[in-house]
Symmetry: C2
Subunit: 236 residues, 2 copies
């Protein structure tokens, strides 16, 4: 029997209890900006990123001497070393270092997925490498959108549509969530940037000067790496 | 000040806690088939429909002598008078009667919305009458998709996109859920039937002989009525 593995999109961590995780690969998607930043950091030779869901956990690591990164509501949280801009993670002095990282949505999605058999990090920055890895892996897969405080968002849904488009010849896909994501992708594939300009995320962050970040996070295949969670940290 | 009221889509009752209900009009959307059936029944002079979330509640009403209707997983539940097919609600002998009704998704969405200022019932069957009513009402509005056991579905999302399209000149709309629904609508406006054929609902119900129901539920403006919940029953 050569049944294809199954791939399914979950539009929000608040719906995750409706989707099985056991024996599944989970891809965490937080395009703006957590997973894009994680991909960038690891591609620039950061040794590992320890994701934590709460600011207090991040503070505890800081007291132990770790480099810490924290973002809340799009801004760098007070008292930590780094925010959530991918450009901050290209620095020479971070090479070989382990960074403890918390963000509004992305790190919560990771912590909720702990019962999956493998947790991967996805974004436009690694879309082709990730799709090749998943096709090779040939296992049931869930694409988990980090969303915005529980509400489905455009950029993560769009990315899952783009990834599904690459996966579908090799996976079975029959859910309405998948159809929604694919429809969004097909509707906007020629002008991703225009769609994202309408997103609540971009409107929310107007004036914070992150236009350059957003453009960067929408770039495809800058880094052919597939970060995974080794039980303690995200590494490649 | 002439600020426009706000309209927002919620893709699943499981996300409803993220959306304010107070002082809002809520439109319950369960195109296949609960809200379409409710619209049909009331347009055919059923006096009222008492929505209950659980089969046990429906049984209790049956013991009191009420006409009862129950659907679970697309099928008529054993021991009740009626199922969830709109064609069953056109009968002469139901005119003037009150029916107690429970369905897999739709009636739960209604019961979860009790703190809204007004609960309305929407579907393609009444889309124009409903949109005119909402524009006239000029109040903040939430479009609540009943979904399928918590998971967002195609038919309800598509309907909210179609309704948004009619409402947008008169409402402010800035959420990503709205963009998702509108994108689905724009992608498929020329061929609703083709999209719905791909939905998990239609696949799930293949063989149950409800193709005629589905085609009926996708018909626009058969009934210019706007059912609302009066605290006890859905009436027009």
């Amino acid at each position: 029997m050569n049944a294809q593995p199954n791939v399914e999109v979950c539009l929000s961590p608040q719906l995750l209890h409706l989707y099985p995780l056991q024996n599944r690969v989970v891809v965490i998607v937080d395009v703006l900006r957590a997973t894009s930043t994680i991909i960038t950091a690891l591609a620039h030779e950061v040794a590992g990123i320890i994701p934590v869901a709460k600011l207090e956990q991040c503070e505890a690591y800081k007291r132990l001497g770790f480099i810490t990164a924290a973002e809340r509501d799009g801004k760098k949280a007070e008292g930590f070393d780094l925010g959530n801009s991918p450009f901050s993670y290209m620095a020479e002095e971070l090479k070989g270092k382990t960074i403890v990282f918390t963000t509004t949505n992305g790190t919560e999605a990771i912590s909720k997925s702990s019962s999956a058999s493998l947790i991967l990090i996805g974004g436009f920055l690694n879309i082709t490498a990730l799709s090749k890895f998943l096709i090779e892996k040939n296992q049931d897969t869930l694409l988990l959108c980090a969303a915005w405080k529980g509400k489905p968002n455009i950029e993560d849904t769009l990315f899952t549509g783009a990834l599904l488009h690459k996966l579908l010849p090799h996976f079975s896909s029959s859910t309405d969530d998948n159809l929604l994501a694919l429809s969004l992708y097909q509707q906007s594939m020629l002008n991703k940037w225009e769609l994202i300009q309408k997103s609540s995320h971009v409107k929310r962050l107007q004036g914070l000067g992150i236009e350059r970040d957003i453009e960067f996070c929408l770039s495809e295949d800058l880094y052919p790496v597939v970060p995974y969670f080794n039980g303690e940290a995200l590494v490649i």
